[in-house]
Symmetry: C2
Amino acid sequence: MLTQRQIIILDALIRLYTSTGLPIGSKTILTETDIDASSATIRNELVYLEKLGFIQKTHSSSGRVPSIRGYRFYIDHLVKPQAVAKDKMQVIEDVLNGHAEQMDDIMHQSARLLSDLTSYTAIVLGPRAESSRLTGFRLLALNDNHVMAIIQTDSGAIENKVFRLSRPIDESDLNKVVNIFNHHLVGRPLTEVARKLAADIPLLIQKYASNSMDVYMSLESVFSDSTEDRFHVSGKINLLDFTEDMDKQKLKSLYSLLENKGDLKLLIDHISQDFDVKIGEEINHELFTSFSLVTATYEVRDHGRGILAVLGPTSMSYDETFGVLDVFRKQLTHTLLNYYLE
Amino acid sequence: MLTQRQIIILDALIRLYTSTGLPIGSKTILTETDIDASSATIRNELVYLEKLGFIQKTHSSSGRVPSIRGYRFYIDHLVKPQAVAKDKMQVIEDVLNGHAEQMDDIMHQSARLLSDLTSYTAIVLGPRAESSRLTGFRLLALNDNHVMAIIQTDSGAIENKVFRLSRPIDESDLNKVVNIFNHHLVGRPLTEVARKLAADIPLLIQKYASNSMDVYMSLESVFSDSTEDRFHVSGKINLLDFTEDMDKQKLKSLYSLLENKGDLKLLIDHISQDFDVKIGEEINHELFTSFSLVTATYEVRDHGRGILAVLGPTSMSYDETFGVLDVFRKQLTHTLLNYYLE
DNA sequence: ATTAGCACTCGAATGACGCGAGTGCTAACA
DNA sequence: TGTTAGCACTCGCGTCATTCGAGTGCTAAT
């Protein structure tokens, strides 16, 4: 267990290190806190904190730097989410309330804003309603061999895709397909849709609309697009600011990882608490040893829950990040409820 | 005027510098060419080339490095576009012929491939038919207050956008708008469409469908999206490989410039020759002093002309870049003719 | 338990030094 | 007149020694 003084020292050390980026020595702590003791006493405490693994030295005669364990303690017990400045607050409200036409726009703007305000990299994932249902399906013949498929769900997603058929379109064939879909898929939960689409539907089409197997093939991809999670990543370039000592190859890997849906999924998909922080090795990926991933979820009633994430250096300002994220999760809940309501 | 030997020396110097990245001295040139002379003679020639401004020294006793003027001469007279290897050729064909559903996909894939194959940054702009016409316009009521607008042009572009109305949709109002559009815009060249959309159309709507002014407002943005150029940029991260000595702030500016449509337009919009190279200061933008921009156009008959661009260091391999670009322009012409044909 | 004092450590900055690649110039040569 | 061997000179770069100072741990006194 830590004494009050040890906690103050740890807290001060982390804040000082976060703002200067330099290892912190006993004298600095002395002048920057109102602890009533000498530097020697603080040194003794530092030795103790180091033994417990909260801090470490970069070399034998250097000041101390927080360890993962130290950050963990800080985040679990000492973080004070920082209030977001009025003007920034205003920007967030303005941008997210500026009525966006589509879900993706809102998510995209959120990611951009979040990375701008934090100067880190932001990842935003739209609300996922486990229970959302397919509410609409249409096929629209655009011309002789282009068809547009439109899919709607009750989570507000509207997905569309144009595809080309190798032979001229037969309206009655299309209608058969639409009928089959309307009858077997529309109104069902997306999970069920996905299952049926792979199993029952091809059989039905084979039986009642065998001319339209090619339409079916194209449709499969439309549906998989629409059920797939859409990750919005912004501020990848900010990685430059906190990867100065990282070699170029790693930086490139990291960059392309952030463009890969599968990797992003592994990174933040499982999050379920309101707030969560993974520090360095806790992320469990060799590329991320010097990063922290701060995640927050936001709820949009029965439209599901979305995820916000900020990727920054382990030495990031958690106070500020928590503050910004908190504003975002409230604002997004509000914005999206409006979006669904209208 | 340069003698044959001086040309050989300049050519060798540029090739050597491109492949090593190091200043080139007289002895190196001696061993790497079959010039029958001593290093002293070559030194004399180097002095001459330097006087003419084709090469320069990095410091008083260093080897020589090509100057912009030298590169200019090289590109105008000495470049030998390098044949693209069989296997790469195959990849290009496979990817670009793999039937894409939409124009944007083809452009996007092209940019990705082009940046991968060159290791530089690629910019691709789809064919722009000055004369293309609006061939189709539809409004589709998706539900009580969501409408999808679909626009087609004879250049193959199919643009769609979902927008929201603040009040429940009245089908007959929509029909009025569609009628007005069909009557006054469909079949006309896009240039005319743009003009009418700003001038005549609002008056007509005011007169015959005054309830639908809000629909009109939303539609304006759909049209402007569809006529706007779509720049596809890929491989921005490759900038890291040739900006080692650039400061971070500039790199960031450069990066965000490449995400800005307006800036990209200034950069490559005016290109009209088959091939064009701008070297360093020739680009006329302070951020680009150490870069070269190699551009090529490709023609798709009466569907217009598109642009391919590669942004790399001034010391890039022009031979290779020209080779790759040449394959792309031919392949894209072919791929897009097919696309429009089907 | 605290603290003054002190020897010790080590990174970072500084400067001296030599190496070597490359140059320009001169004088001799074909 | 063009070419070349020879040579003194330049300058970036890497190495090494030195210094400086911030910071530490330990000891002994309070």
